[in-house]
């Protein structure tokens, strides 16, 4: 009897998820981002593509970390020949660095608008286009209504959107599927080697629709994400002579 009830509840939950636009994963889509346990926090245990992710950057250092993390996520989305639009008003991302995260910079088209209004318009137009694999937009303000418009655009086209928010004072509720904050962490070179190690970030999943939030430490190593467990995380704070 109890088992039957559980089944019914989970079935109903599945239906609700379907109505909300979360389809059950097809085979082969699990862990394609290499995020491991982080992907398990999302609904159905799959990193949601065809949705909008929001990243909070309050300092240029955070923006750099988010830029790297987003570039790492773009790699499996773009695959062989997909293209990405990077829209913003004051773009500082250095295209050459994208190559380090596995994204060929010549397949990213940068749109440098002058007005914030144009950024949102361009983002919506780009998200509506299903021939664009991903859209990255740098915006400071995003109202609930604006985020809804973007959400409606991606629901039709299944393009993935990344919104990089750079104004901490203009935070508001949005319809984005996940809200992230990526901050840099001290790197830990292997075997106590001198110098700076692989990029390491504190990945906070602050809000997630139909999933569980959490905090993880992630490293970008050998062209893929690598979760850092606490035991490994022993950084030695010594100044090393280099050169």
């Amino acid at each position: 009897m109890l088992q039957g009830k559980k089944d019914i509840v989970s079935k109903l939950q599945q239906n609700i998820m379907l109505w909300e636009g979360f389809k059950a994963p097809s085979t082969g889509t699990v862990n394609q981002f290499g995020l491991g346990i982080i992907e398990a926090s999302f609904a159905n245990g799959v990193f949601p593509t065809g949705a909008i992710h929001e990243f909070l950057n309050f300092k240029p250092e955070h923006a750099a970390a988010s830029g790297g993390f987003v570039a790492g996520l773009l790699q499996p989305i773009l695959k062989a020949s997909g293209i990405c639009l990077w829209i913003g008003t004051s773009r500082t991302i250095f295209p050459v660095a994208l190559a380090y995260f596995g994204v060929s910079p010549d397949r990213v088209v940068f749109i440098d608008a002058i007005k914030e209004k144009d950024v949102l318009w361009a983002t919506e137009e780009a998200l509506k286009c299903n021939s664009v694999a991903a859209v990255v937009a740098e915006v400071s303000k995003l109202s609930f209504a604006q985020s809804r418009r973007l959400q409606l655009a991606v629901e039709k086209s299944s393009t993935t959107g990344f919104i990089l928010r750079n104004d901490p004072n203009a935070l508001s509720t949005t319809t984005c599927v996940a809200r992230w904050r990526i901050t840099p962490l001290p790197s830990a070179p292997e075997d106590g080697m001198p110098g700076v190690g692989f990029p390491r970030w504190n990945v906070e999943l602050i809000k997630v629709r139909n999933g569980n939030s959490g905090v993880w430490q992630v490293e970008w190593r050998n062209d893929r994400f690598l979760l850092v467990t606490e035991q490994e995380n022993t950084s030695v704070d010594v100044i090393r002579k280099v050169g």
């Binding site: 293209i83 250095f94 361009a122 021939s131 050169g243």
Partner: protein, 499 residues
């Protein structure tokens, strides 16, 4: 088709122009003067003044001595060219191909135009009478070649219309001046007793060339039609353009949309037939109050897709102010290109830059935000960070070299390196700490230096020694020292942020 040309000669261009504006001058002799080398010389002489023996190039003082009631007007530089431009543009009603023949003539390519006026004779009468009624003394001639028309208009006494193929016969009795030659050659010909072109034809061409230079033989050939000659049209002939006159003035958005659609359909049908596509087009809306509203669009790839082009215009319809109404729409293609009609592969990757849907999206973005806002980068073989990328000129361009991943580059690169304060610098090592925007960063880890020399063939200055540094919070920066350590004033800069 046999080419036919009409030469117009305005014998008293400037004085006629002034007489039209001031009819009272018709009965008085007057001249235009312009200072040349500190002397005032006559640049134009009215018919009345000419009858009293004045001529162009005469001194004003002499002219005043000869004709007591002479009126002298100041001339302006380029007045004749401006006048001819205006008259030439007006004459486009007779042929689309009008060229200026400085200083006092126009040349019209009338091939295929005269039948609209029932033949050359009525065409000729219409043109000449129009100018005469307006007040311009004009002499005109029609011939197979530009040279013959020019000569007959200026020097022949009768038969201004030279029948096709008869131009040689027409020019033979004319003086050598009818060949558009330099004064020096004309003087020599005159001295040697060549009074007509006929006398020249008796001399072998090689001798003529030896004695008088290439110009004489070329002009002779051009007049007879043996050598070709080209005109520079006043207004280049619009290759692809459509017009839509409206019976009732258009005021509404729906009306403008219909007009644009109609024009695009006609134009695209035409372009598609020739395998061409629009790269840039401009829509002109002529309002009934005389204003012209212009809207321009551009595309990233040549296209003749009506729907796509319409969408580009649709974004800009809001800027068109119909005012009291639009009576005429014209759509001109300002830039055409060949359309690549490659067959689309069924299994081709949908998400590629060559995809027309993506191109259409970028066109729309360019239409609203501006084409200068769209950038795509390709690698460039330079170590200097600012020069390691270049803007791609089009969306088909592929990187000539692979993107380099062996050298770490920051995720965020500041457009200009920013000066930072450092303390405790040690030679060949990064500083112990640096201060950027008021915050002190203690350097815990560092990589480097990576010395990047300035490319002396491009610019001058000191080299940079780059370090990747990590502060106490794990934030990674790209800083560099300009020049060698220990130089009089070495400076440290922050150039980027690593992920």
């Amino acid at each position: 088709m046999q080419k036919r040309y009409m030469a117009l000669w305005f014998c008293h261009l400037k004085t006629d122009w002034l007489t039209i504006r001031k009819p009272e001058l018709a009965e008085t002799p007057f001249v235009f003067s312009f200072p040349v080398h500190n002397r005032n010389l006559l640049t134009a002489v009215s018919p009345k003044a000419e009858a009293q023996g004045l001529y162009k190039g005469m001194r004003v003082a002499d002219a005043k001595a000869m004709v007591l009631d002479l009126k002298v007007f100041k001339d302006k530089a380029n007045r004749d060219i401006n006048l001819l431009n205006a008259i030439g543009e007006w004459s486009i009603r007779y042929t689309p191909f009008v060229a200026i023949d400085a200083p006092d003539g126009l040349l019209l390519d009338i091939s295929g135009c005269t039948h609209l006026w029932d033949g050359e004779r009525t065409y000729y009468k219409e043109v000449v009478n129009r100018f005469l009624n307006k007040g311009y003394t004009v002499r005109a001639a029609i011939a197979d070649t530009i040279g013959a028309a020019w000569a007959v208009a200026r020097f022949a006494q009768a038969h201004p219309i030279v029948t096709s193929g008869q131009q040689v016969k027409a020019i033979l009795p004319l003086p050598p001046a009818a060949l558009r030659l330099e004064t020096a050659i004309l003087e020599r010909l005159d001295k040697l007793g060549f009074r007509t072109i006929k006398s020249l034809t008796a001399i072998p061409v090689s001798s003529l060339r030896r004695r008088f230079g290439e110009q004489l033989t070329l002009r002779l050939k051009q007049a007879t039609g043996e050598a070709s000659e080209y005109l520079h049209p006043l207004q280049p002939v619009e290759a692809y353009a459509e017009r839509l006159p409206c019976l009732e003035p258009i005021l509404t958005r729906v009306g403008i949309e219909l007009a644009i659609r109609y024009l695009l359909q006609a134009l695209c049908k035409w372009l598609a037939k020739e395998g061409k596509g629009i790269r840039a087009a401009s829509l002109k809306c002529f309002r009934i109050d005389g204003h012209i509203q212009q809207t321009d669009i551009g595309t990233n790839q040549a296209t003749y897709q009506v729907e796509h082009l319409f969408k580009l215009f649709e974004l800009k319809i809001g800027d068109i102010e119909p005012g009291l109404g639009i009576e005429l729409f014209t759509l001109e293609v300002t830039k055409v290109d060949d359309v690549e009609t490659t067959q689309e592969a069924i299994w081709a990757d949908k998400q590629a830059l060559q995809n027309t849907i993506v191109i259409q999206l970028l066109d729309r973005l360019a239409g609203k935000i501006g084409a200068q806002a769209i950038h795509r980068y390709l690698p460039q073989e330079h170590h200097w960070p600012e020069r390691s990328i270049k803007k791609a000129e089009n969306f088909e361009a592929k990187p000539a070299t692979a993107w380099r991943t062996d050298q770490l580059r920051p995720t965020i690169l500041l457009p200009r390196p920013e000066l930072v304060e450092v303390s405790a610098p040690i030679p060949d090592y990064p500083p112990m700490l640096f201060r950027y925007q008021g915050t002190v960063h203690h350097i815990k880890r560092a990589d480097g230096p990576e010395r990047i020399e300035r490319e002396w063939w491009l610019d001058e200055g000191e080299h940079r020694d780059y370090y990747i540094v990590e502060d106490q919070h794990g934030q990674r920066y790209w800083i560099f020292r300009l020049g060698h350590y220990g130089q009089r004033r070495h400076q440290w800069f922050l150039h980027g942020f690593f992920a």
